[in-house]
Amino acid sequence: VSTFVLLSVTGIGLGALYFLVASGLSLIYGLMGVLNFAHGAFITVGAFGMWFTESKLGGVPVWPRFVLGALAGLAVGGVFAGLVELVLIRPLYRRHIEQVLVTVGLGLATTALVVAIWGNDARPVPSPGWFGKTTTLAGAHVPNDRFLLIATAVVVLGALTAFLKRTRYGLIIRAGVENRAMVTALGVDVRRAFTLVFAIGGVAAALAGVLGNVYFTTVDPARGTSLLIFAFIVVVIGGLGSLRGTAAAAIVVGLVQQYANYYASSGLGDLSVVLLLGVVLLVRPRGLSGSFA
């Protein structure tokens, strides 16, 4: 039983990571119809922003250093994403294929630039010792960083839901996902919402980058791409543009991956996720939530 609990918590923790990436992807696609291949770059930028800041704060105690590094990572990720939208995506409105192509190029170039500056190898990231310790839960020794992942994802889900339901911009975004032409016709400038959604997605992705540093204890230029692929799978399973569907799909994918890796054989987890995607698309081509844009 204790193994099962450990696997479940780890699976949900991994799902939390996927959710952070996928929520931004899902919102961006839902509102703008852009499949954002640069999202992996946002993860990488956030992760390296955190690592770089921490490496500059050598003498600072470990907790403030971690918090400052994380905040810097988030800020860099959000600003980068916002700028990408303003400079590269905005001039290409209404040309979806070109927008996707630009994000593809940006994703490739950003990763290559990071590799050029800091090299291909993963580097260790210092983080507070508390994350490495375990908490006993129903007989299982669960590393504390899993709880951090889950708690953060829950907070982000709550904050995003509140933002979408309670604020004026949230209303514009929700309306825009449903029918952008109508919102524009009513005289609302949805374009400002586009930049906002990109920045929010960038912060969430950077958060995934920061937490990825904690979970894997290293910073790795290749992680952005590999997380992005699973996030794509999560988004499609959950139904593009639906936040709740994305959250549910993220947990399912994380759990399936962990269980299959442990109970069947290592490496089978990734394959079964792919299989899951195939099955879901065949049974429900619009994803779990049924709101395929």
């Binding site: 590269l88 590799v115 394959l271 792919v274 065949l282």
Partner: protein, 349 residues
């Protein structure tokens, strides 16, 4: 095809076929003399990727299918032949036959599943299938794929004419033959009646359906054809290398195919081929240049990004998308008047 449309490609083919006979120095373009094995190897790689880019263009440029899993079918050609001769100790001819069979059945099965959905979902499903293949190659099941590093092909099983540095010439001709075959097949296919349906699907799938045709079967046809030709390219690529590596299985590999096609120009006669050649050449030469004296004397702000060819190519790609929307082959063509374009955009709003 009429005689006239074949004249230019035939002339190009003859010129390219004669390349190994000339000992010409082309400074900056190539590091060594034209007929040295090093240069011929690079040219052969350019030709292979030119051909593979054309197969991707069949899907993306001519039918409008945005696949993110084309790497899978290329990798099948690279890996399957190598595994069959090295790990299963089959003969080369049997390995080829087996690979050809898989190259038809696999895309038939996977295409049948992924084409049930369209647009972005199709892109994602193809990505997922290719990812599954990539994971397999990395995980090294039964010791077949050699994991991340790959493995060396058992060259004693390969035809003698394609083994060894002295035979680079033959490999070059093989690559040229592959590119020429793909070119002819693609021209013939897009000019055939299914080819017209593919282009109609790209323009307006609903309308094709209303006309009483089933887009699904036509899409499956082009999917299998493009995948089969990509697998053939993978086999030629394998012969050019010492063995398969995981690079060719990754999603990034498919993205580079997309970059090649868009840089050259989608859905055009020469665009994809030129894009593949230019990309492969630039990738190699930028790598060489980064270690050259001219670059290493630059300040580090400039030098660091230039060390990564993918960075330069990624930026170039973005610039092409922004400023040369039709790709390089449409550079010389007359652009539509801007006012007309504006009017059309305004009407779509």
């Amino acid at each position: 095809m009429t005689k006239r449309t074949l004249a230019v490609p035939a002339a190009v083919l003859v010129v390219l076929a004669l390349v190994p006979q000339f000992a010409v120095d082309l400074p900056y373009v190539f590091k060594d003399t034209l007929n040295t094995p090093g240069t011929l190897q690079l040219l052969a790689l350019c030709l292979v990727f030119g051909g593979v880019a054309m197969t991707y263009d069949l899907l993306f440029g001519y039918t409008g299918l945005l696949s993110f899993g084309h790497a899978l079918y290329f990798a099948v050609g690279v890996y399957l032949v190598a595994i069959a001769v090295t790990k299963w100790h089959w003969g080369f001819a049997v390995a080829l036959l087996f690979t050809a069979l898989v190259a038809i059945l696999l895309p038939l099965a996977l295409g049948a599943v992924s084409l049930r959905v369209g647009g972005i979902a199709f892109a994602m499903v193809t990505l997922a299938f290719a990812q599954a293949g990539s994971i397999l190659a990395f995980k090294n099941p039964w010791g077949w794929t050699g994991g991340e590093e790959g493995f060396g092909t058992d060259y004693t099983k390969l035809p003698d004419a394609f083994v060894g540095i002295l035979n680079t010439k033959n490999l070059y001709w093989l690559a040229l033959g592959y590119a020429a075959c793909v070119f002819v097949i693609v021209r013939w296919a897009v000019g055939s009646s299914p080819g017209h349906v593919w282009q109609a699907i790209r323009e307006n799938e609903l309308r094709v359906e209303v006309l009483g045709l089933r887009p699904y079967s036509y899409k499956l046809l082009v999917f299998v054809l493009a995948s089969f030709l990509a697998t053939a390219g993978g086999v030629v690529y394998l012969l050019l290398q010492t063995g398969p590596t995981t690079d060719v299985t990754t999603a990034n590999f498919t993205l580079t195919l997309l970059v090649m096609v868009v840089i050259g120009g989608t859905g055009t006669k020469w665009g994809a081929f030129l894009g593949g050649v230019i990309y492969t050449w630039a990738n190699q030469r930028l790598g060489d240049a980064s270690s050259s004296h001219a670059v290493s004397s630059l300040p580090s702000v400039l030098r660091t990004p230039l060390q990564q060819p993918l960075f330069v190519l990624g930026v170039l790609f973005i610039l092409v998308v922004f400023f040369v929307p039709g790709g390089l082959t449409r550079l010389g063509q007359k652009r539509r008047p801007r006012t007309l374009q504006r009017l059309q955009e305004a009407m779509q709003r």
